[in-house]
Assembly symmetry: C2
């Protein structure tokens, strides 16, 4: 696959120099940004965490849950003293926000994101940014169908995977620094190319989302009172933001369409086996799925 797991330090800076993080700026303090802030603060990893956003209500909520030490709606002021800037906004706005950050951050500041797709973003930002700032893409495979800093959790990244998508232009020191950063929040870090990342998450994240959405969309409303834990779990992702997911599907269009086509064919095969009362075929599909699923873990 061309990617490898980083058997990273289990704590901030162990096995390497401790990064000095006087100030981390987080642009967009929703679930992900808020959880990063909360984890940084609860682990005592940053002196100051500045939350930057457009809506006062979100910033207030981020302060209230303790995800940030101060907030501002002025991006330029917010990033001015940051050692590291995380851009945790919907993917459609990441490129623009990273460029704006670079224009106002200290020279040479490292910037990363938390976007669910990477190819378009990395392509647009893999060039010199203003003031010598540099971007390396991150994707924490963590989250929830719930949005907003009020659902932030300090342990959101604990034991989860974070994919970094450096390019040939990326400085090794920047990539290592981000590895230490996410590891310090409890995550395991792997590196992949942006293209590999997008193909993989089409299957492991975007297809499950589409399946949950299609399921929730077709279940007749009058039967919902009979929903058990099975339907609850299987359709959980459909509770996610339609706005965000429209952007994600669009940004990863080709891989998502391919995964959906394959999924359709599998559903057709299942239906054919049911209709034709082909029990042995049915059991084969169910057994193959169980073997795969048992490898995922609970």
């Amino acid at each position: 696959m061309g990617w490898f797991r980083v058997f990273a330090c289990s704590w901030w800076g162990s096995g390497g120099a401790v990064d000095s993080l006087d100030c981390v700026a987080i642009v967009g303090v929703g679930l992900i940004g808020g959880s990063v802030g909360l984890a940084l603060r609860q682990r005592g990893l940053a002196e100051t965490v500045v939350g930057i956003g457009r809506r006062q209500s979100t910033l207030r909520a981020a302060r209230r849950v303790g995800a940030v030490t101060r907030t501002t709606r002025d991006l330029a002021a917010g990033v001015a003293r940051a050692d590291l800037v995380l851009v945790c906004v919907p993917i459609g706005s990441i490129v623009e926000q990273v460029r704006r950050v670079a224009e106002h951050a200290r020279p040479g500041t490292l910037i990363t994101d938390a976007g669910s797709t990477k190819a378009e973003i990395v392509r647009a930002l893999d060039r010199p940014l203003a003031r010598g700032c540099r971007f390396v893409g991150s994707h924490p495979l963590a989250g929830s169908e719930k949005a907003g800093p009020q659902h932030a959790r300090a342990d959101l990244f604990q034991g989860r995977l974070v994919v970094l998508t450096p390019t040939r232009r990326s400085r090794p020191g920047d990539v290592e620094r981000l590895e230490r950063f996410w590891s310090a929040l409890g995550a395991e870090v792997v590196r992949m190319t942006a293209a590999e990342h997008d193909r993989a998450v089409a299957w492991t994240s975007h297809l499950p989302h589409a399946a949950a959405v299609a399921l929730a969309a077709v279940v007749p409303g009058r039967y919902l009172p009979l929903a058990g834990t099975g339907l609850e779990d299987t359709s959980r992702l459909a509770g996610g933001s339609p706005e965000l997911w429209t952007q994600i599907f669009a940004a990863n269009r080709r891989h998502v369409a391919a995964a959906l086509r394959r999924f359709e064919r599998q559903i057709q095969a299942l239906r054919a086996a049911v209709e034709q009362e082909n029990s042995s075929r049915l059991k084969r599909i169910l057994s193959r799925a169980k073997t795969k699923r048992d490898a995922v873990g609970s």
Copy 2:
């Protein structure tokens, strides 16, 4: 829909006479049978709980977790003194096992099951059984992809729905007795016809299972290390027993096929919207799914 929720007593017999249950016999002490036993014992609702099964290893496991007070492989001996018999075996064996129970139970004993489909079973058993025994179908909408008494939980039915499927031949007293029984285990009880039940669970249980199976079956194995909580939850049901689910899909063939057809079309619509970069169509589907999903609860 023709079914109604029974705002049942929250505890055994409250609002009615307390049923005397000296002895409950459970044929098949897997996850469901074991959990019934555990709940009966932990709540002090039955003096004796007899576990009846074919395999000594399962019976031993049921005893070990405290789901039963005694066990036997001899069905005739096991049901001989029971006040109530639960048949918790795979659906393909329920009819035969209920008939065997009737031949050996005390005259007039009430028998129920825990099968995931009801029409075939109820049709076969809606007639006089041996020794004046009577059958009324139950389906507790509770469970797990994990099998066996070692996964039994006393709270498995707590807050879950149990569907009873009485017929015109059923005695009101029998139905009320089963309502009190399941309510005493913490469940909410509703009554439906077997046909209504099977149509409803095709959507709320069998379709989610098929979606999880298809998802697990198609995700390329090399990407599984990137599975996040989204894929984990969405594919959880695929860990269920292929043997049991082959029987369930077969028994509810017509309704399952109809649900799968509708699901296929929705997946196609999603794919078309992605391929055609039709964001407004995509967002409409996602929004409709979210509204439905938000009504299911977490």
